[in-house]
């Protein structure tokens, strides 16, 4: 029965809500009608008009109360009340503009500070894949002891695709490859970033191209047959102006003709967080983009470069898929014992992939978010304190309302509405601050030609989170004052406004607030300083090689279709001529300069004569391929033995240079020079160590000392190399002469990423950490400001409450210094406690930061020696000012004051 009669009640309720005045009017009309008929009846019964009217009115008395009853019946009270409360809140806030402005700014700062870390966290962890139904896209990884998130080889991928039943489709993709791209056959090639993907990539992921079509499965079957490509949306806009006729056009990739068959949609910039592929090619075309001629990507089962993703079949649990994949991995182990020993496989969710251990970015995001939430907490406690103070001044008003019959809950609602209004205003301000800080962060440039972007933007989820946070803050700030002030003792409230029992208990809340603020500000400031010092220290340790007067430029002869011989000849001639150029002290080649942006390759080896642990049969180490001039050019000293020589050619036995740490790990008691290791496995090619180089920084300035292996270019020829030039003068002066040399060798070959090493280093060591420190420092500064304001507020408020008491004391003979001491003493006690707690929290935070960000341990005393006294000084000042004012109070004035 119930639902049927809602047909009548709901429109009625809506009407009473939206047209309440109309409804009231109608009620009056109805009663008026009744009255008039009654009067008519009276007249008809023989009364005079006046008598009739009087009688009628008397009969209908009490109607006003009835009307009120009826209004209550309409039961949309809560909404009309809410609207009325908001109006009232706005009016009363307008009467206290200073307080309102302060509170709004405080909350805005607090919430604004959280927007950037939320954006960061969203981009790094939470944002779902840009495909339909991203929830059932999982990543399949191969696991080994060193790496729980490894890739698969092409053959393994095919086996997984064909022999598993848990998925609606399994796709594979490589990391971005540098590809020489020319829109016309005649144009000089430029380097763009392409990605090789399986034929079913777009279909399985559910990506609908905005022009043309995606790959067909059969286009990825025969190696080298189908030279088709799909453009990325950003590249299509930049390069082709968004022209749809590009579909069907033939362009050149690494010298080979490719046909554009489609364009990916705007909604799909790529599956990675930071990089956006310019175009996609089928995996079957991999040989066109091979980096190492000795490897056969499509055949080698241990060339594991593919990232594999899959769509779980609806209804299939992850555990089932995991078990199936683990069983398949065991099959691999059985069938290919040499290549798949101790290799498992796992199914990982997006969240697991984003939060994996070997990536520090997201950890920083989490720490950053935590810190900014701490600032928000400080801001909220400040506001809560202020609102508490304000509530006291309204005791009389509240007592009157209570006396008139308002329910306690109703009053609490009213007060909470007020804080909700404040919090909303603050939230809006905070969002504005958040936008500003994100646009500031977006101006951060990375010195590379690859399409790397910072995907930090404020989207709807962040906005919703900020607003929710505002509402929560409102609740937090407003609840305590609302509860406390409505607990009123009516009689006392209606009497003198500030008759206040000096009970200890009453003040506990506010004091706790101040202590909390002081300690949190201390912690934040300490954090900022610690980060600054930490980075400074790591940078100060130096890189181990000389960074000055170093010019670098990259070459990739595959862009002009050189074969191996021609590449070798090119580099030989280039090296000769460059070394002969005046102004060049030394020159060398490397695959990857240290502290560069690329990832170092990895070499698997078995050291001779080393007792292998029972569960391993090989180790891995980062490696670089360099020529004979590298060590001299980078000024990396060879401590024992020698560097590479021109005589280390492909004909003689293999050699390598290792760093100190490597040598010390595997041959701790003897000289590593002359020792051997085998490549890939215990039966691989033997390599003799001919030199030990100093351990330098390879990946990051803040890394722990790592093992490293250098292999000679002459024995491991590569196409893509970076030329490093040590110059006697300004490195940029040498750009033109080098260009001439390159042009004389081949006018079509481009020089890529030409810059000084200082430039690169500055990004890595200065820009990145600098932004980080600035952010945390801002947090700390804001926190401190808030703490100071809070402290000032508390002490000033205490003084105002005790004005009469102070007046009495002074009348009884207390002198200004005594009053000063009395008031200040309380404030200092609070600061002291807050400092102690803040110190403890700071220590804890330091441990966390050290383990996550730096390789240092222990406690950095200097930071605290700076921060604690500075904070102490500042807070004492904040307490001093109102205290001094208190000591200057005129006794007569104080006693007269209410």
């Amino acid at each position: 029965m119930r639902p049927r009669h809602w047909l009548y009640t709901i429109p009625l309720r809506l009407r009473s809500l939206l047209r309440s005045r109309r409804v009231d009017q109608e009620l009056n009309e109805e009663l008026q009608f009744h009255l008039e008929r009654k009067i008519e009846e009276g007249i008809a019964g023989g009364l005079t008009p006046d008598e009739a009217r009087y009688a009628a009115l008397r009969a209908m008395d009490g109607l006003e109360q009835r009307k009120e009853e009826m209004r209550t019946m309409r039961q949309v009270r809560w909404l009309t009340d809410f609207v009325a409360d908001v109006h009232y809140a706005i009016r009363s806030l307008r009467r206290a503009p200073g307080l309102t402005a302060f509170v709004v700014i405080t909350i805005a700062l607090g919430i604004g500070m959280t927007t950037s870390p939320f954006c960061m966290l969203d981009a790094l962890i939470f944002r779902p894949y840009p495909v339909p139904r991203p929830g059932n896209v999982v990543t399949l990884v191969s696991t080994s002891r060193d790496n729980a998130f490894g890739g698969f080889s092409y053959r393994e991928y095919l086996d997984i695709r064909d022999h598993t039943k848990s998925y609606d489709g399994v796709v594979a993709s490589t990391i971005l490859a540098s590809v020489g791209f020319s829109a016309d056959p005649g144009a000089a090639p430029r380097v763009r970033a392409g990605m090789l993907v399986s034929g079913n990539y777009f279909r399985v992921l559910g990506v609908e191209p905005q022009a043309g079509r995606g790959f067909r499965d059969e286009e990825d079957t025969v190696p080298g047959r189908d030279a088709v490509m799909v453009l990325g949306p950003g590249f299509w806009k930049h390069e082709f102006g968004g022209d749809p006729s590009v579909v069907g056009r033939v362009v050149r990739l690494n010298g080979t003709d490719f046909t554009v068959i489609g364009v990916a949609p705007e909604s799909f910039p790529g599956m990675q967080i930071f990089v956006r592929p310019d175009f996609y090619m089928p995996l079957a075309m991999a040989h066109m983009f091979a980096t190492d001629p000795q490897k056969n990507f499509l055949e080698d089962r241990d060339d594991r470069e593919l990232g594999v993703k899959a769509r779980l079949k609806p209804g299939t649990s992850r555990q089932k898929a995991q078990d199936e994949l683990a069983a398949l991995a065991r099959d691999f182990e059985r069938e290919y014992p040499g290549l798949n020993r101790d290799r498992g496989a796992a199914v990982r969710t997006q969240f697991e992939m984003r939060t994996r251990d070997n990536d520090a970015n997201w950890k920083f995001g989490v720490i950053f978010t935590g810190l900014s939430l701490a600032v928000l907490l400080v801001a909220c406690t400040n506001v809560a304190g202020l609102l508490l103070a304000r509530a006291r001044t309204r005791t009389r008003e509240i007592a009157v309302r209570l006396a008139l019959g308002a329910g306690r809950f109703r009053l609490i609602r009213m007060l909470l509405t007020e804080s909700l209004v404040l919090a909303c205003l603050g939230g809006l301000g905070g969002i504005a601050i958040g936008y500003a800080s994100i646009s500031f962060l977006s101006t951060f440039r990375i010195p590379t030609e690859l399409p790397i972007t910072f995907p930090f933007r404020v989207d709807n989820r962040i906005l919703a989170a900020s607003l929710a946070l505002s509402a929560l803050s409102a609740l937090f700030c407003g609840l305590a004052p609302a509860l406390q002030s409505t607990r009123a003792d009516l009689v006392r409230g209606l009497k003198a406004a500030d008759a206040d029992v000096p009970g200890r208990k009453r003040l506990w809340g506010r004091n706790a607030l101040v202590v909390a603020q002081v300690s949190m500000s201390l912690m934040l400031l300490a954090a900022a300083f610690l980060m600054f010092r930490g980075f400074h220290q790591s940078v100060g340790e130096g890189t181990g090689f000389a960074k000055d007067h170093l010019l670098m430029t990259r070459f990739d002869p595959r862009l002009v279709q050189y074969d191996a011989d021609r590449t070798r000849q090119f580099y030989r001639l280039l090296a000769e001529r460059v070394r002969a150029t005046p102004g060049v002290r030394s020159a060398g080649f490397t695959e990857n300069p240290p502290l560069g942006l690329d990832v170092f390759g990895v070499v698997t080896f078995v050291p001779d004569g080393f007792q292998m642990p029972r569960d391993r049969d090989s180790f891995t180490s980062a490696m670089d391929t360099v020529d004979e001039g590298f060590f001299e050019t980078m000024e990396i000293p060879i401590l024992r033995g020698r560097g590479f020589l021109a005589s280390d050619t492909a004909e003689v036995p293999r050699v390598a240079v290792v760093n100190e740490r490597f040598a010390k790990r595997y041959w701790p008691d003897t000289d590593a020079v002359g020792k051997r290791f085998r490549l890939d496995s215990a039966t691989g090619a033997p390599v003799e160590i001919v030199g030990v180089a100093r351990t330098v920084k390879y990946r990051q300035p803040t890394e722990r000392p790592t093992e490293f292996v250098y292999l000679p270019l002459s024995q491991h020829p590569l196409a893509r190399m970076v030329l490093m030039l040590r110059t006697s003068g300004d490195p940029l002066q040498l750009v033109q002469p080098v260009k001439e040399i390159v042009r004389s060798l081949d006018p079509n070959l481009p020089m890529l990423e030409t810059r000084t090493y200082e430039d690169l280093y500055r990004y890595h060591t200065v820009e990145g950490p600098r932004v980080a420190v600035e952010l945390v420092g801002t947090l700390g500064a804001v926190g401190l400001l808030l703490a100071i304001a809070g402290l000032y507020g508390v002490i000033a408020y205490n003084v105002s409450r005790r004005t009469r008491e102070i007046g009495i004391r002074m009348a009884l003979g207390a002198r200004p210094p005594d009053i000063l001491r009395m008031v200040l003493g309380k404030g200092l006690a609070l600061v002291g406690i807050g400092t102690a707690i803040g110190l403890a929290m700071g220590f804890a935070l330091e441990q966390v930061m050290n383990s996550v960000l730096f390789n240092a341990g222990g406690v950095d005393v200097l930071v605290y020696l700076i921060v604690v006294p500075s904070m102490g000084l500042v807070t004492v000042l904040a307490a001093y000012v109102p205290a001094r004012r208190a000591s200057r109070i005129e006794p007569t004035q104080a006693l007269r004051c209410e």
Binding site: H5, Y8, T9, E26, E30, F33, H34, R37, K38, Q75
Partner: protein, 111 residues
């Protein structure tokens, strides 16, 4: 002559619903009609009539429409809704049972 205020709220609802079941009327007409039919026994005070009508409307048992009345003045005419009619039947049945039971007890012979 029982005083109107002796009427329990639920009983008043029942009477009002029954009146409106006969035909749609406005508040004044309902009170007049009720007086007439019950030979002056049941007189609803104005202070109870309109809140009761209002409540019935809020519950969805009756619905209202503004129509011109006999003297061409606008008045609010109430009528029964379908759920209201069912409620009326239920309440009428309850009342019969209740009143029969009370009558039975009252008529018992004293010993």
């Amino acid at each position: 002559m029982s005083k109107p205020s002796d009427l329990v709220q639920g009983t008043l609802d029942l009477l009002l619903l029954k009146m409106l079941a006969l035909e749609p009327m406005n508040g004044w007409a309902i009170s007049q009609r009720l007086k007439a039919i019950s030979s002056e026994v049941l007189q609803v005070s104005d202070g109870s009539l309109y809140p009761a009508l209002h409540k019935l409307e809020q519950e969805g048992w009756i619905t209202a429409e503004w129509k011109p009345s006999e003297n061409n003045r606008r008045a609010k005419f109430y009528s029964l809704t379908r759920p209201g009619r069912r409620h009326l039947e239920k309440e009428a049945a309850n009342w019969s049972r209740l009143s029969a039971a009370i009558s039975h007890v009252v008529r018992l012979e004293e010993a």
